[in-house]
Amino acid sequence: MSTLRSAAALALAACLLTGCSNSTGTGSGDGGSAAGGDYQIWDPYPQFDDSSDWVKLLTKCGTDAGVTVKRTGYDTTDLTNKALLAAQQGNSPDVLIVDNPVVSTLADAGVLTTADELKVDTSAVEPNLLAAGQIGGKTYGIPIGANTLALYYNKKILDAAEVDPTAIKDWASLTSALEKVKASGKKGITFSAIGTEEGSFQFLPWFWGAGANLTQLDSPQGVASLELWNGWLKNGYAPNSVLNNTQTTSWQEFAAGDFAFSENGTWQLANAKKTGFEYGIIPIPSQAGGTAPAPTGGEFVTAPVQSETARYAVTEKLIACLTSADNALTTDTTLSYIAATEAVQQKQVAANSELTVWVEAVKAAKGRTSDDLGTKYPKISQPLWTAFQAALSGSASPADALKTAQTTAAAATK
């Protein structure tokens, strides 16, 4: 009896093992055959399940190309390491949709194919958006859409404080608006100055808006931008909790209805409608006036290197399908992104005039890894966030903090 039972258990275990290896084996990038078969797509949108428009689009693109698409959604912070590990093990996905500042890192690791090699047409894409994926004259991937930062405002609070949001064109008018808001008994502005990449992302519109350059953090312009933030905290226009706020917590503070302004992204548009108060959006002003260049967010569709180059033909079809004008419109609407091509942007504005501000902001925006910074950017970003954390928490003056940051960044990028 007991032998019978253990034999059955063994057989079951064997089935499980072989079953497992079968299902994982065929799915991997180099396991399937070149024509037909399974194609792997990894994306950073785990919030979408199989019933979502996004996954339906992926499936449809696969069917059109005559293959089956296997899609996996990862958390965005997890995806870089997953992609690197997969490349190390030689089982990269066929299509990898990844946050734009990561493209240069992966390209530097030799993980990605160039758009030329894959014969992907990038000519319609706005050059400032494509720049984040260009290193050393080569283009790796194509943006699926873009998002960026702007200022949301609470209309009721501004009316009560007698502030006209359309008159906010430069730093001086913004700061005086904050002063009026504070005088009227409400809170000024919330943003995220957390000690991670998210904080740097939020600081850059002000840094670039002063005319500063990432290669010289302690320039007078750079110091001016940090002094702006620092002044807001000192005067109580911005809460001290910005130091620990993610963009989501900062949004929650704004959504609670006490703050006049929130520096936040395109992706909060859907939530803005749920707040229950009237809101508006203005572009982030630069120091001297006009729209400040904000960093671009949003993902690139890339094709990791495969040992079987015959697979690229289908991969190209999949990417072309995902980024075609019609599908880009669906995708960018689903993701609450601005399209990467002028033609689709116009369609978006025609459908929803609220997006005009965002299209303008995206046009003025700039990739963090642009200017050929590439993999140097992360080594600059970290000293930068350490600097504004030090200044805002009062442990160093803005000038000193940025001086230290510049020394660290210069040593790291040498």
């Binding site: 912070t77 870089t80 390491n81 690197l84 490349a87 190390q88 500042p101 990561v102 890192t105 992966l106 530097d108 690791a109 030799g110 993980v111 957390i194 000690g195 991670t196 990449e197 809460p239 001290n240 909790s241 130091l243 620990n244 503070e253 993999t375 950017y377 992360p378 080594k379 970003s381 970290q382 350490t386 600097a387 954390q389 030090a390 805002l392 928490s393 009062g394 442990s395 160093a396 903090a401 660290t408």
Partner: protein
């Protein structure tokens, strides 16, 4: 007769040898699962971590697996990093202060509950709550409570007329805040282990001490404390090893900030390897190995202490 006996003896010896030989293999077969397990899940990861820390990894060499051997360069870089001193100091402060308070409060509560008053079992169970909660829940709750502007702690301070404290965002308070949260989380562990240690002390000794006229304080310092020493030692050791590598709590509450004010080796190592867009596995592994060395040091100290006791 004698030949018969000797041959019999010889065959017996032979079978014994065969059996011993076979037993040898059987023994190894029985040992194999645990050996394979130890090799696969302990030895190999440790070796990989050591290897990572001795090579110059870039993202490219990580993928292609051809990172050049760089000796102790990563360690030199880590030691020369201006963040090293503060991180080391924070790690020590965090560990020592956390352990001291966890142990003292845990012991006090254990002695209190040892009196077995009514509802003491229920109350003791309630004290275990911090231990049962997932860390992401307790750490997030602490970080909400300690929020500078809308946290309940500052609100309560405001009610008694104290100025709000920037618990998580001031360089003077961030480390204290994460220590407070960590003490709260660690008390139940100390309470449970020390309480079971107290149960093992025979009542007769207390009776004898009482007959000899020892008061409560004397009974604690002369009876409870010395007899609890072996249990205390293991509690402290486990606490040390556990506290040294606390990462999630600090990361959720402050991300090691503001500007490194609450960075410990654990969060520093994580930030090197995973905390920015560009992973630096070499220095990350080096800092991780320093943590292992520190834990090992305390482990050896414990073994020495135990030997001296024996």
């Amino acid at each position: 007769m004698t030949t018969e006996v000797s041959s019999l003896v010889r065959t017996r010896e032979n079978t014994a040898r065969v059996r011993r030989g076979r037993g040898h293999w059987t023994a190894w077969a029985f040992l194999a699962p645990i050996v394979i397990y130890l090799l696969a899940f302990y030895a190999y990861p440790l070796y990989r971590n050591l290897d990572l820390s001795l090579r110059h990894y870039t993202v490219r060499s990580f993928v292609q697996g051809d990172a050049p051997f760089s000796g102790l360069d990563n360690y030199r870089d880590v030691f020369a990093d201006p963040a090293f001193g503060p991180a080391f100091l924070h790690t020590l402060t965090f560990t020592v202060v956390s352990i001291a308070f966890q142990f003292a409060i845990g012991l006090a509560l254990a002695v209190f509950f040892a009196q077995n008053f009514r509802l003491s079992a229920t109350l003791r169970a309630l004290f275990l709550v911090p231990w049962l909660l997932p860390l992401i829940v307790s750490a997030s709750t602490w970080s909400w409570m300690l929020n500078s502007d809308s946290g309940i702690v500052n609100h309560a301070l405001g009610l008694i007329g104290v100025d709000p404290v920037n618990w998580l965002t001031s360089p003077d308070w961030a480390l204290t805040s994460v220590i407070i949260a960590n003490i709260w989380i660690g008390i139940p562990f100390n309470l449970v282990v020390l309480y079971s240690g107290l149960q093992a002390i025979p009542c007769e000794i207390y009776e004898a001490a009482a007959l000899d006229g020892a008061n409560g304080r004397q009974r604690f310092w002369r009876v409870t404390f010395p007899l609890l020493r072996p249990v205390s030692a293991i509690t402290l050791l486990l606490g040390l090893v556990y506290t040294l590598k606390v990462f999630d709590l600090i990361w959720i509450m402050t991300k090691g900030g503001p500007a490194d004010a609450s960075t410990t080796f654990a969060t520093w190592s994580y930030r090197f390897s995973f905390g920015s867009l560009l992973p630096e596995f070499g220095p990350g592994a080096a800092v991780g190995n320093l943590l292992i060395l520190m834990a090992l040091f305390f482990g050896l100290l414990y073994i020495r202490f135990q030997r001296r006791q024996a």
